[in-house]
Symmetry: D2
Subunit: 285 residues, 4 copies
């Protein structure tokens, strides 16, 4: 028994009896449900279910549970994951030159208020070494030399694997991943885009926002896909601005929003709350 409660996250094609089958299975083993949230998406025709339960008996055997549960639920065609809430999602953070998202993420991590375990920081620049090392984290400088982006990306992916990474957080990494990397990291890489998507895709969104004269600016955290800025949105937020804000001041306000939004997306992912289908997400809170 490695912890006191578990989160079971599953989805399957809609069918009568899914919730009953799963909850009866748990009740039959004495497990107590602490939280349950089920949503049937009418477009996808899929049931999504998130359950937090406390195992009912000392000596809960996770491996046995997984084998048996998998067997029992075979008829439903479920995709499912089980996570011990006492464990933490292993994260590698990729950054470029800016510190705000990294700093905020590491602060929340070191305060113990994000259920993640940061393993390392990687970057194409040296700027954030000092911050990473101050937090006792290994920092890997992976410069893009002579435009050889793919080679550098391979190094990053190798490091991610070596560290046992479960989630790659692009905390303003500013490099576009290749389609191959996007596939390898499917639903395991979260990016923060510094605009309220779908407005202001592409580069320099705060300057775009200034040009367009918008009255609110925002940020969007999404899973990385090879369709840039079209990845499934996990979280967004905005803040009010006005004509008197320069692009630099918009950037300062925006940086605050980015940090908050990225932290929320990482937290919800790590708490097994996010279901992705197509370019949408369901976040069961």
């Amino acid at each position: 028994m490695t912890g006191t409660s578990f989160v079971l996250r599953l989805s399957c094609p809609d069918r009568v009896g899914v919730v009953a089958a799963v909850t009866s299975y748990l009740a039959g083993r004495g497990a107590n449900i602490l939280e349950a949230h089920h949503f049937l998406d009418p477009v996808a025709g899929r049931s999504m279910l998130r359950l937090v339960f406390a195992p009912g008996r000392p000596g809960f055997d996770r491996a046995a549970f997984e084998a048996e549960f998998g067997e029992s639920m075979r008829p439903f065609g479920m995709e499912w994951t089980l996570r011990d809430l006492a464990s933490r999602v292993r994260v590698v953070v990729a950054v470029s030159r800016q510190s705000h998202c990294l700093m905020s993420l590491l602060h929340r991590w070191s305060a113990g208020t994000l259920p993640i375990d940061v393993a390392a920081v990687v970057s194409n620049h040296e700027d954030q070494r000092r911050l990473a090392e101050w937090h006792g984290l290994p920092f890997h400088h992976l410069p893009i030399e002579g435009g050889r982006k793919e080679a550098q990306e391979q190094q990053m992916l190798a490091l991610f694997r070596d560290y046992g990474g479960e989630l790659l957080v692009l905390a303003r990494y500013m490099q576009i991943l290749t389609p191959a990397a996007c596939r390898e990291l499917e639903e395991r890489a979260i990016n923060i885009h510094h605009s309220f998507l779908p407005g202001f895709k592409g580069a320099r969104p705060y300057h775009q926002a200034y040009q367009r004269g918008v009255k609110l600016i925002g940020a969007t955290a999404h899973y990385v896909t090879d369709d840039l800025d079209e990845g499934p949105i996990i979280e967004q937020a905005v803040e009010r601005v006005d004509h008197s804000f320069t692009p630099e001041q918009l950037t300062t306000i925006g940086n605050e929003i980015e940090s908050v939004v990225l932290n929320r997306a990482v937290q919800w992912h790590a708490e097994s709350r996010v279901f992705r289908f197509g370019n949408r997400t369901v976040v069961l809170r």
Copy 2:
């Protein structure tokens, strides 16, 4: 069969197997769960469960279901309600002289976007007769004569019963109900208070807000209890203001917030989303 889906809302002391018992009962009768949300409150030690399901077979017999389900669940000590989503909660609205909350509620009702059926409007003033009657609603003027508040309140409660009222919405009614009325209407009367409680209890909250120089003003919808302004909060919202707003302008902004907040609380109540215990609520969305 009176509709295509039902909402089952229940709470009971925490115990292993509650969710399994309820969902297995439904699955056994072929019902398909569309939404499910369960929350175990650690303070109250109670499970709260809201289920939306589609009956699996034509000719669903609601009375039989209620009798049988009640019997099956007896060991759990459940409090539960079943509502056909095609039916609408029968509402009586009480107002005083101001129109904004009434107008907004009636607009949403007539647009069909609130699952309520407004039966009548009552008021201690004549001002809103024209608006009520324009919407084809009976309007009852129940003046408070010679300070005889209790007699007038009894008239209002009698009307509420006569109309088969399920929910009394105090849309800026501005009169304090007696403890006896509060008990009779327990969890069946929603009030809108024109401040962000617990700030600015009591009279003239926008003037209080002006005096205090707050930078946000708000509104709070809550169940009516005999502890004034301490009723269980269902919903709250705020809007940004600044020093340049006069009390009158704060009132105008505040009126907009009140309308939105009251409509949300009424909607969530009517959708069987709100659980009350003590002076708190759980709103399962």
Copy 3:
């Protein structure tokens, strides 16, 4: 003397002494400044100034003031307007079939909390006649017959002129004005777009928002230009939504935002707070 205070709104190329010249002119005539807000836009290189003042002497002669002030300020190349705050901007409202924006605008107007004077409602449909007439307003049904949009638009513009219209409010009018009409109504027509621009331009934005899975939806009020959905933004707001909202529910939430945003834009325009240059606005609050 037609009122107790005036708002002077002016802009001119940046030059030393603009504010001093204007405020000294006023002080020299005994006028007391109640509010002043000046902004120098660094891109446009223009000064924008909004002043509220109380004339210092009984028998303030507005015509004389206008003649004299215009003469004095000639060297600055100013564009300026003077408005008696006791007067109200004359508004014609254009609607299509939906009521929410019209209802909210007329409610605020009849409550006296918008400094406008609604003269008439025009529509290409009959639906809102009852609401307009309940408020004692003339309603003009201008159907688009046999696709003859231009003829119908000419009728609408003729009515606007006949009513002495100063501002045309497109409160979900749903028809695109011709470039000629846009030019005639430059800075005198405000539209509400039912999305947070620049996201979701074009038709059915709430359905687009649903498809894209955004976590906030919004609305944008802007001056009408012949570059559709690219007009200068006056105000925007958003509200939080999630995966469980159907397109219909997004629409309901969105309608509330639209009403609030449109009212704010109309209010700020009517209070002479909005300066437009290019496709941006400065709103001096």
Copy 4:
């Protein structure tokens, strides 16, 4: 000439000609007004004016300006300050054991996006020494020994003076200052209170919020006065929460709000935007 622009912040009893006198004075010396904002508070009967101007001539002599300007404006009874925008307000930060506000403030300071110059960090605990020293700042541990709070406070005030402190930021300092210290630091000390005042005054506001079941939590930055939690509010913000948040999770969300709100208040103070009268503020933005 020590910079390219200056901010002049002044208030005086309402009188015709204040704005004209000040702006004419500037124009007469060739200064160009970049921003101007004037507000006449109807309750206090005072004019408040904030002007940003670029001196018109090379070799702007600040001392001469101050002497001459003071003399010229004597009849108006003005209180005024002049600040070179290139200079930065000298700040001492007081903290207790928690890091979030300190970290966020130092991050913004080191990024150059707050117009402050942090001189030192003082604390009654050792916890934040490492963070302060990482930023190259002196850290002074001033423990409260044997309940001798006044002696410790005197040490802190002496340090504040020695560092040439202009603003003391209580970034979750958690100690109540004596009335004498409050007077000495009048309008020069900003505190962050971890609730949306006037709700939840006093200790453990997030636990109070949990007990009360509020649906939004907030934070308030205010000038320190000897009437605890009643100081003039500079800025406030809130975030949405629900029943599922534990007091610890409310605290985590609240900490984010506190950081943002405190930074904004410090920025506006440092930009000479805040006017205090009685227990209210005017923030000219």
